[in-house]
Symmetry: C2
């Protein structure tokens, strides 16, 4: 039975579930920052996924990246599977801007998470749901 | 015509070329650190790849990750496509250890690159070539 790591559960709100991954918004208004978590137990690294699921996770990363691009028009998308602290496999997809708080450095460790106001977060989640659920992911 | 970004050319030595990516060793003995560069012009983000190439890049990331695991027995593999400084699409695959210089933080920005001694680097490149070229990548 898949269970989301408590740190991920605490730091995120769920946007939607795609066929492999749970799609979570990080509670940090500093960056549009999504995390994909394949809903399987015992995964730590990307290469722990079998071939079918590796293709699927790539397709879902692509779908989330294009959604962030379409909504936020970022300068760059950062994609990363690190997991040195929270070992459950999770893939960050982050919209980056040349005037964001960490630019051009990676975002991890730059500052504490700064949560959205509840209404802002709810609105963003709805917007993301609309975009992510509009197109079927292959 | 594909041309490697001068910063990547300067900071790496070539290990091999897979069907999509050039596989480069970063000149930094601090971590076993490989970079994959899809040999196509004008790519910035992972989602700039077409569907076939996304599947291929994932397969090559997997192949490099498993090679690093087999040679170094790391605690974790970190995979990341950032590119905020060097915009040419490149994917980092890094073997991480709980006693490495940056653990558990990401490695970027922790210290300057510390090159290998020439003979050590040559030996490592040969070892990586043997492993990477042994198995055909789907």
């Amino acid at each position: 039975m898949f269970e989301l790591h408590p740190t991920l559960a605490n730091d995120t709100v769920e946007i939607t579930r795609l066929s492999l991954c749970r799609v979570l918004l990080i509670r940090d208004k500093t960056y549009p920052w999504i995390v994909l978590v394949p809903q399987q137990d015992g995964l730590r690294d990307l290469d722990d996924l079998n071939e079918t699921d590796r293709i699927q996770v790539m397709s879902e990363i692509d779908h989330v990246s294009k959604t962030l691009k379409s909504l936020f028009k970022p300068y760059k998308i950062n994609v990363a599977a690190l997991g040195n602290v929270v070992e459950q496999l999770h893939i960050h997809v982050i919209a980056r801007f040349q005037d964001d708080a960490a630019w051009p450095a990676p975002i991890w460790g730059v500052g504490p998470l700064e949560d959205y106001a509840d209404t802002d977060r709810d609105l963003l989640v709805v917007k993301l749901q609309e975009k992510l659920n509009k197109i079927a992911v292959l």
